[in-house]
Amino acid sequence: MKMLEWTDLLETGNQNIDAEHRVFVNLVNKLINAIDRGTNNPTMSRLILEIQKYAEFHFVSEENLMLEICYPDFDKHRRLHFELLEKFNINLNYLELGKRTHRDFAYFLVQWFKSHTIKEDKRIVSFLQKGLSNV
């Protein structure tokens, strides 16, 4: 399965956010690797748990940054995080029920990460940079 490659398109320009995103990309790739190697289920579950915990951590981390810089669309962005968690949960549940494969789940994670990062996280960074240049 194709790895999630780090491209300029994913770069937000904020060092902290990008660093966390890179960790996340690594975790997703680890899972893809495990799928390709036919790793056993318990190991796969541990990897998915790691991804889940990291995503939850990252959302709180991003929310705290938004609060710090008084990001005007805080509520909207936070709502997006909740929607992402909802989608994550639905896919996780289908996986647990055996209605989706690990491959489906990894594919979902890739799309999930890309769409949010490219659109929404970049807004925060652009607000941050505008604010800094105004100083």
Partner: protein, 539 residues
Amino acid sequence: MKSHFNTILILSDEPDNIQILSDTLADRYQIIVRKIGDSSTEAVPTQPSIDLILIDIPVLDDDVIEFCRSLSASPATTAIPVVVLSTTNDEEGIVKVFSAGANDYITKPFRLSILKERISSHIELVRAKTAAEKADRIKSEFLANMSHDIRTPLNAIIGINRLAIESHIPEEQVRYGQMVQESAEGLLRLLNDILDHSKVEAGQLDLEHQPLNLQKLIESVVNLLIIRAQEKGLTLRCVTSADLDRLYYGDPLRLRQILFNLVQNAIKFTSEGSVTVTIEPHHDGPEADEAEAVFHFSIKDTGPGIVLEKQETVFGAFDQEDSSIGRRYGGTGLGLSIARRLVELMGGKIWLESEAGLGSTFHFVLPFARTNLSEEIEQGNEEIQVPPGVSGDTVRRSAPRVLLVEDDEFSRVLFRKLLETDGCAVTEAENGVVALEELAEKDFDIIFMDVRMPELDGLSTTRLIRQCETGDFGSPVDLPKRLIRRLRDTYTPIIALTANAMSKDRSRCLAAGMDEYLAKPILPEDLRAVLKTFGRRPH
């Protein structure tokens, strides 16, 4: 194969989640799905009965919190466990869900296996709780039934012993008789406490709603107990305020019982000094309104006081400050528990202030509905008159003809004697069949009727008598023509005499066509009052 599945109601607007949750739970539960959009407690089906409500919501909001609150407040849904699923992960939101009455909250993302276990744990908890409550209710009903069966012979012991004491016997025997009397009365008090306690526990105690005069009620309690206080060298004082001498709605019998228990307790535990009963309008807390007046009652003693650690538990059943005290002072330890339950049943609050060595004050506040009734109306059904030793009306009337229907021989002896003392001509019948035979032959002015009897019980007998009187037989009956002819277009008052002391027994008797109800043990003065009201011979 299980014949009965527990039913889970899933409330969700998310098709994927509905699918997932249904698939997860369908092997163990019956599933019903509803939209959450316009959820109200009415939307919760009653058939089949729901065992658990699973609310799936993307993010917690005020509407869902409010919905949880209404589920927990509504009698139809309050016992159903509610599990909420959402992505909200902040402390404040989650605490709100629980304080709105939800039983569990699971943050998304979660594992279905864990959800399953939580659900089965909630359902098991409810099952165990229901089973425990049922066992408790059965136990209480058993106690109530037992005390009925003990009350019947005890009633005869007390009544007949009283007759024996008053029948000009040697002084030494009078003394023995008084000992029997005291012991039997003690036993009866214990029985009454147990009966009351188990009735409250079993939820069988219904409150009366009738006019009462607080001033008179309190005076009657104090008058009853003042002798006991004086015997111990205590002062028993009563401080009341002007507002009291008017009518309110309430349950006089039960209020009297609360006051009696508390004052009696104060006297029991105080070896020197005084007991003071104070009643005043209650000004703290929610202001009394036009419909209701709230009164604050307090009973202050100069007894040993109760240490702080024990103050919490004195209102529990079977609890005295320590078990050695129980032996020293006697009593069942049920009095305060009954008082607390009655106060709470009446919508009031009871508490205690005490310091070891300095005495105790028991407080309670109770709301009473106001009335516009004038005092005269109440005089008619004045319930609280205890002038011991005052004999009845001395005006001579022709002897009322009484039919006494009672299966217990000893009780018949007792009632006959009491009725004859009051100048009645008594005919006995040991069950309903014999009573009907007597009624076919003779006229009576009043019938005293036991309820539980072999052959034909009191309720059926009463119904048959009333049918004969009105000629209104629902279906053809096989009754002697003679009886029907004699009773046709007459009316004889029927008074229930029964050891069934539950209030639903009273309504059952009245519904069968009886006119009044006396619970055993029956006091001579109660019997006299009934005779005065119903026992007049028509002119």
